[in-house]
């Protein structure tokens, strides 16, 4: 019983770290562009597939096992750097002035397209590549043998991302510029800030975060069609529970939902998928704008 609980907590932390990576990208993009990108989950899945493919290539030619780790980051940068600007320029930049239903429909259409792109490239059979987990090896926590990858690397990456983002947005000039555009695009433009560029950079960065989440997830569970939709729905639940646009809130909520889910995995497996949404509905019933959200954001 205690063993199971410890296992659930460890799993929950690792899972929360992954969910946070995706959710923070979603919330950041929404905060700046005011577009909720339904295709964000696809970037997560594509990041995972690319990482698994590259990881496989590295593992077979294996100069050194640790190379599997930087491959994860490289995959995310590749996916985000290529897909992000293309999607932003070709699609999103056309719809910033349209109403929200159309924006949702456009990103939903993109999501439909990207889901099949994955099937066409990687097929429908599960793909699994755990070279990165093996490279770091196991660790003992009490009586449990756990992976170093999940225990240390995933939470460390998530924490670094959170602190890095907070520092970046509050302390650096570029960060301040992004915040300025978020608050008032016209005023920012009047000050000579290139809002279009801020939008593109933010979107690209958000895409990289989703892809990094997928890349980091790929060595811990196999990739199957539908990974993208599950992740967009879950990360939306996190973002909605926290309040749209809330970065620190997303971290806390990811923890809450991650732990809730993994406890369910061990103690009520049928309801694993339901728990995150029960948490979301419970929070939204009491606080309609999320734990850290405010009413103004709702109608934007």
């Amino acid at each position: 019983m205690t063993l199971l609980l410890l296992l659930a907590v460890l799993d929950g932390l690792a899972y929360a770290a992954l969910v946070f990576m995706v959710a923070v990208g979603l919330t950041l993009v929404f905060g700046v562009l005011r577009v909720l990108n339904v295709a964000h989950g696809s970037f997560f899945a594509i990041g995972g597939y690319v990482a698994a493919t590259l990881g496989g290539a590295v593992a077979t030619t294996a100069a050194a096992p640790w190379l599997a780790l930087p491959v994860l980051l490289v995959s995310a940068i590749l996916v985000g750097g290529l897909l992000g600007p293309v999607v932003e320029k070709l699609l999103l930049s056309r719809i910033y002035v349209k109403d929200h239903v159309l924006q949702l429909l456009v990103t939903f259409a993109l999501f439909m397209i990207l889901e099949d792109v994955q099937k066409l490239i990687w097929g429908v059979q599960p793909i699994f590549q755990d070279a990165a987990v093996k490279a770091l090896g196991p660790v003992e926590v009490g009586d449990i043998v756990y992976t170093r990858y999940q225990l240390f690397l995933l939470p460390a990456v998530a924490a670094t991302t959170l602190l890095g983002l907070m520092w970046f947005l509050r302390r650096t000039l570029t960060g301040r510029v992004i915040v300025a555009v978020t608050q008032d695009r016209e005023a920012a433009t009047a000050m000579g800030i290139d809002a279009a560029r801020v939008y593109m950079l933010t979107f690209t960065f958000g895409t990289m975060l989703a892809a990094l989440g997928g890349a980091l997830a790929s060595p811990t569970s196999s990739l199957v069609p539908g990974a993208g939709v599950n992740m967009i729905v879950l990360s939306f639940a996190v973002v909605a529970t926290a309040g749209l646009g809330q970065i620190e809130g997303a971290a806390l909520t990811a923890l809450l939902i991650g732990l809730g889910r993994s406890v369910a995995v061990y103690f009520a497996p049928e309801f694993e998928v339901v728990i995150p949404y029960l948490i979301m509905v419970a929070v939204l019933l009491v606080r309609p704008y999320g734990l850290f959200g405010s009413p103004e954001l709702r109608r934007v």
Partner: protein, 313 residues
Amino acid sequence: MGRNLTLPTVLGIALLFGLSFLAPWLKFVFTIALAKGLAVLGILLLLRAGQVSFGHALYVAVGAYTVAFTRPVAGDVLILLPLAVLAAGTVGVLVGLFVTRYRDIFFGMLNLAFSMVFYSLLEKLYAYTKGTDGITVVRPSIAGVMLERVPYEWTMLCLALTLAVGLGLLARVFLASPLGQALPAIKTRETRLEFAGISAKRVLLVSYVASAMLAGLGGGLIAMTTLHVTPLLAYWTHSGELVFIAILGGGGAVLGPFLGAVVFELVRVYAAAAFPDAWQMILGAVLLAIILFASRGLWGIYEDLTAKRGVRS
């Protein structure tokens, strides 16, 4: 508003029957199309209020599974269909009380979340739902009469058509009523509705429950036509299809959903077989093209064509 829909409706019905005589397997396709058209009619009510639900497959599935669950105890279409509508309506009230507090992004995504939760429950609660295997539905009787396959299919097509025409008319009356006219007002000036003493949330809830019931009815018809239900009915791709058909058909008139659904199902029969792994991609690309270049959908194209020829009523 004042456009006369009688002629296109009669022509459409004649075409459906004619084609079904020529190619009997089309009966099945058309019945499914009309069932989906009913669900899309529900989506249309919400689109009028500027809201889009990415989770209405939930109600289709509730309707379909209601039929599958109750078929062993109640074996007649005339009992099963109202039950499907009732079940979908009940779920619609419960979920609707929650989601109608929200608009736009939250509305769309919360609906998606609810449908995906239902999907995974259908998949995981194997003891009740038989998981991904799904449940086979024994062909029910119609008004106490057990029919053979062919007359059953004809009857189901006629039933679907009757429901489509009847509910299409009802939807038209609803959209012209104060309640229906308040829907676009939610889209444009919700606060002003509140200042008129009208609760926008209640207006939206009424439409939401109506849309859930329409989708449940569609789901019931689907279960009784395919005679097999699986969790896929609740999957997001299915919700996406409904939204797609609504946009394809165009929100201009109540015929749009049915026109869109028939075209969609006909194309799907061929395309989905030819490109099983690229079907969503094709849908997504067409959806983008419609949104960006022909926002009034097929019905809009029809209107433009007939308007040019001066067939205005």
